[in-house]
Amino acid sequence: MTVTLPVELPADDAELADAVASWLRQNLPADWLAAVEAGDRATVERIRADRDRAAAWFDVLGEAGLATPTWPREHGGLGLTADRASIVSEQLVRYSAERPNQDFVGLALAGPTILEWGTDEQKAARLPALARGRELWCQLFSEPGAGSDLAALSTRAVQQEDGNWLVNGQKVWNSYAHLADFGLLMTRTDPAAPKHRGITYFLLDMRTPGVEPRPLKQMTGDAEFNETFLTDVVIPDSARLGPVNQGWAVAITTLMQERNGLSGRPAVGPGASDALVARAVATGAWRDPLLRDRLVSAFVEERSLQMTTIRSFVAAGSGAPTAEGSIRKLAHATLSEKLGVLGTELEPDGAIAWDAHERPAAVEQFLAMKTYSIAGGTSEIQRNIIAERVLGLPKDPDPERHTPFQERSRG
């Protein structure tokens, strides 16, 4: 067990960055640091892929509070604002010392939701483990019949005489559910109430009997998603997060986590369009004036989006998420599709046929380009949010908003 030095937190932003960098240089394993400083990506990736070594490092990082800088000190954080936390995160990324993407649900969604709604016991049991990267989390919200209309979920939880809950249902689009230790679970507990008012939220131990994730193959050919079947799953009442039938409010906390300080400060700099331009130069497509115009156009659009991200970062100093996030998400989705198609046009033949094991990156991007216009709320839902919350237009009619859940139409 490494003895972790406390990290200093100077009030000045530049000094904070220096303090974190200096802490990282003192604490990162020597070969890791050397590879980072030499710019040797391959070695860094190899070390990070070694589960034992990564686990040891995340323990050190968590002990110092650096993995969860916005969390209160008593729960393993540093009590920093989202802005100041971003300075920390920026340094972690610079030294390739940050937690991997698959920890997103745990760090960015589960942690803050538990901080807001959890009992002292739940906080004590889960937060230190989350800060040290000892538990992987997944989200069990969407269902085959509840996508954009999430509140229509029908996975049923019935409280038994002993106080435990018996859960049956099916969830879908659950990233990493097959590897996860815990899941954020929304269930229907009062079918007689309108759909938003009969939901209860649980922290589900994914090892509980009856929890069965099955990989779901995406259109890209990958399978990072799962569908998760819940059959007679028994959950103790102590795993309930927030009051019975108020799970919708708890879920809003999860869904509105936007500025978490886990990514660096936004900047205007290299993006996906730069990579396409580089590719266009390599394939010779850059010589085509029509493609050049479309590439520069995409470049301009991506930079304008980055500028918008900086603007909202500066404006939302409080860290409160806003409907403006929908503006950026919609713009990102549009750009992603534009770039996905454009990429394949830079090497028209290579994008439809290739030698074994040499699938071009453009094909991956093309097949993944629809991700952002669907995941995390479709572009149509984002447009509704912008129209209603930014422009003050009437809310989309939901004829069943006040209908008891069990009496609503199905389809």
Binding site: A278, R292, V296, M307, V314, I386, G392, L393
Partner: protein, 423 residues
């Protein structure tokens, strides 16, 4: 006390007769505008106060109905308001150095003013004078000429414009065919020139013995002919200007005219982008208001997703444009970042503004297609703006070098790869 301090203290009521005497001593020596030190998008109370003041003033003296009235009557502008803007608020000299009679503000301050002007389609000589001619004079680095002309621009007694294009619409040195002889006499034609018929001073790019230089032609000069053109956007008149051995004063170093034109064009691009943001904001507000009040089929049309979604897309375009315009306004003129920001803002905002004009008419339906409705005024302005400083496509072609440099940073092979683009 800076102009902004003054504005901060003096809320706009009825036009006050306070007259400020700019400090006579020179405090700063800056190439074009004062350096903007605050981090991007860090709005200050002074910025907000400036915006409120200008908005209040324009709402009172120059609402869009006034812009329409002037355009329909073919008037150049409201001369009394122009003088008031200079004498009592100091907007013409807001961003000019104090040694030239200005208030030493930043380009960002001026962008805020431009946005508010764009909102109400305020036109006339303000943009050609303040956004084109003044920056060109500053960029010429000709202290003597600046000292002679800029104080008069700042106090509103002189209007000016910049004459560059000659019918091709392309801002390129190759397209400058107007010539200057050894004695500084110009021969050639410039069109369309913003406020070309009436501007007191014409700053002209012409080809002299040492290459392209800037020349100042006085309105009454011999051999100068000016004729009005029919115009798409009635709020900013344009003319054809011809020179026939017209006497002119060369400003700045000989042969350095195009560099000054480029710098002035970058400044104008940022200010025009800010104007476009204002125009788009007005369109989005107008359309959202209509969607919140117009009923069909027993419901507000704003409850139909066909309407909501188009409006949401308009809001996205507006916010992205605002970011691009103000990111650029926050960079220091003369830097690579500024040039890049100006091009980005120009390309993005011009196209966004045109689409916003189209969508505004679309969502208003039949009423939006009438002469009486303001929507077509915004569409006309948007289309005219697209060409005035070079088309967005030209701007993107100019950005190619920057884009390649950015890609090379990501993928070093780009730099070594031979990139030959056929002309």
């Amino acid at each position: 006390m800076s102009r902004v301090d003054f504005l901060f203290m003096c809320r706009w009521g009825p036009l006050s007769d306070v007259r400020l005497t700019p400090p006579s001593h020179s405090l700063t020596l800056c190439p074009v505008y004062a350096e903007q030190r605050d981090p991007e998008f860090g709005w200050t109370g002074e910025h907000r106060q400036l915006r409120e003041t200008v908005r209040g003033l324009l709402a009172e003296r120059a609402p869009v109905s006034r812009s329409r009235e002037l355009a329909e009557s073919g008037a150049r502008h409201d001369a009394a308001l122009y003088s008031a803007l200079a004498e009592q608020v100091g907007l013409q000299g807001l961003a000019l150095p104090e040694r030239f009679g200005g208030y030493g503000g930043t380009l960002l301050d001026l962008a805020i003013v431009a946005e508010e002007m764009g909102r109400v389609l305020y036109g006339g000589p303000f943009f050609p004078t303040v956004a084109l001619a003044a920056p060109a004079l500053m960029a010429s680095a000709d202290e003597e000429a600046c000292a002679e002309y800029l104080p008069r621009i700042a106090d509103g007694s002189v209007t000016a414009t910049l004459a560059v294009v000659e019918g091709s619409g392309v801002w390129s040195p190759d397209d400058v065919l107007t010539v200057a002889d050894a004695g500084g006499r110009l021969t050639g034609a410039k069109f369309p020139v913003l406020d070309g018929v009436d501007a007191d001073l014409l700053v002209v790019a012409a080809r002299g013995p040492e290459g392209i230089s800037l020349y100042v032609v006085e309105g009454g000069a011999e051999g100068l002919q000016r004729s009005a053109l029919e115009i798409l956007d009635g709020t900013r008149r344009m003319g054809r200007v011809t020179f026939d051995a017209t006497p002119a004063r060369r400003i700045g170093a000989p042969g350095h005219g195009w560099a000054a034109v480029t710098q002035a064009r970058e400044v104008a691009s940022v200010l025009m982008a800010a104007e476009q943001v204002g125009a788009m904001a007005a369109c989005v507000e107008l359309t959202a208001e209509y969607a919140r009040t117009r009923r069909q089929f027993g419901r507000l049309i704003g409850s139909f997703q066909g309407v909501k979604h188009r409006l949401a897309d308009m809001a996205v375009r507006l916010e992205m444009s605002r970011s691009a315009a103000y990111w650029a306004a926050w960079q220091d003129p003369g830097t690579e970042e500024f040039a890049f920001g100006a091009g980005t803002a120009r390309s993005f905002c011009s196209e966004a503004c045109l689409q916003t004009g189209q969508d505004t008419i679309q969502l208003h339906g039949g009423i939006g297609f009438t002469w009486e409705h303001d929507a077509h005024l915004y569409l006309r302005r948007a289309r005219a703006d697209m060409t005035v400083l070079g088309t967005p496509a030209q701007v993107r072609a100019e950005l190619e070098t920057t884009v390649l440099a950015a890609a090379a940073e990501l993928e070093p092979t780009v730099a070594t790869h031979s990139i030959e683009v056929p002309a």
